[in-house]
Amino acid sequence: MRLPDTITLNLFSDVESAKHVARLYANSIGLSELSASEVVLGVSEIASNVIRHAHHGLVHFKVLDSKRGIRIIITDSGSGIEDISAASEDGYTTIKHSLGIGLGVTKRAFDYFNIKTLPHAGTEVIVEKYLPIPKSVIDYGYISIKDQHYELNGDLVTTHAYHGDTLLAAVIDGAGQGYVAHEIAARVSFVISQVFKDSLANIIVDCDDALSLSSEDGGATITLIRMTRNQLEIIGIGDTHTYLVREGKTSPILHHIGRIGMDNLPQLRLKTITLQKGDTLISCTDGIKSLPSNLTLIPHNSSRNQAIQIFNRYHRALGDATALVIKYRGYNE
C-alpha cells in the first residue's frame, strides 16, 4: 500500500488524518506500539498547534533511507513563535485552554526534534523517530567510575543512537576532578546532544566554542566516535585513548595533542575506518592505563562486561576512569 506523503492541515479534523497517517508510517517500519503511540501523540500536538495558531499547514511524511526511521516535517504559514526557548518550556502558552506543554511533550515524543521559525514567515518543525539499533548489529556498553576522593565524576560518556543504524558516542574527560570537571563534561555532553547529527569536526568546534565561553578553566579531552552501517569515524583530542581490536590485535588510534576549550584547537583530521564484522572499538580516559596490543577479553561477554573487565585490570589508583566498548557485529545482508 502506498501511503500518502502529505496531509494538508486546514481544519481540526485534518489533525485526525495526520494522526492516522502517522500511525501507518510508524507501523510500516515496525516501530513498537509505544513508539508508534508517541509518534501519533507528537504529531497530534504539533498539528493541533498549527490549526490553533496558524490555521493552515502541511504535514510531510518520509521513511528514512535506512528504512529504520521516519521523518515528519510540519510547516505552517503562521506568524512564527517569537520565543522558541520559552515556548518549549512546559507551562508556556498563549492560548488559555491548552495546558501549555505541547512543545515539551512533542520533544519527548520523538528521538530528534528541530524547530525553525521566522517572525511572519511561519514555523517548520522536523521530528524523527527511529528503531533501536539491534544489539546483534552494534553492542555498546561502558563503565565510568569517579576518583574516590571526590563527590562527582569528571568523566562522562554520552551516546546518541539515531537513524536506526548510526551510533554517535563521546568519551569526555573534564580537566581535573570533582565538581568543576563534572561541570565541564556535562557542558560538552549538552552541546553534543544539540548537534549530534553534525560532522564530527563541527561537533568538536561547537564544544570548543562552548567551553571557551564558559567560566570553568581547564577544558576537556574527548574521543568522538560515529559508527554507521560499515564505517567508523573518529576524532580524538588529548589523553583519552582509543583502540581498534581486529582479529585479536589491539592497535591504538592516533589522537590529536591538546584539549578542547583552550582556544588552540588543532587542525582536525577525521580518521575513517571501514568496519569488518567482529571489530571492537575501545575508548578510555586517562584513568585507565594504556591497553596492551595482546589484550584478551572474554570473547562472548557483553560489551558492558568487557568494559568492566578493562576497568578492573587497567585502572589507575587515582583519577576518574572510564572505558567504553563498542562491538560491531554487522548486518546479515
Binding site: V15, S44, H97, G104
Partner: protein
Amino acid sequence: MNQNSNHPATSDHEDIAISTRQIIGDSPIMVNEIFAGCMYTAIYGTLDSIRIKGLSDTILNISSQSDTDIIIIDLSNIDIIDSLIASHIIKLNKTLQLVGVEVIFCGIKPVVAQSMVSTGVLMDNITVLKNLKRALTEVYRMKGYHLVRVDS
C-alpha cells in the same frame, strides 16, 4: 485502480468527511443510567474542543434534570491522549465536580498511559479506575451496596 492515480488528496477528503460528521454531532453521544444516580458514557473517536463541549453539555443537562451524582466516563476507545485532550478531560472533570457530580474515569489503555508518562502529558487530580467493572464496584460501594449471589 492504478496505484499512481490513487492521489493522497482523495483519501484525505474521505477522512475529513468522516471526522466532520463526528464533529457536527452526527454520531450522537450516548449517556445512560446504569445504576441509581449513576450515569455511564464512553468517549471514542476524535475528541476535540467542539465534541467535548457537546459531551459536557449533555452530561450537565442530564445530571441537573435527574438525581445523578456519579458519572463513569470510559476512555477505553481512545488511542491517544495528548495534552489538548488531557486538558479537556481535566476541565470536564472540574466542571462536573462544581455541580456536585463525582467523576470516575476508567479503561485507559496501557500503551496510552505509557505514552502519556514518557512524553509528560499530565492528568493529575482525577479519579481513574482500571476498567468499567472496577468503576461499577466503586459506585456500589459509594452508594452503600455490595453485590451478593441470590442463593447465598
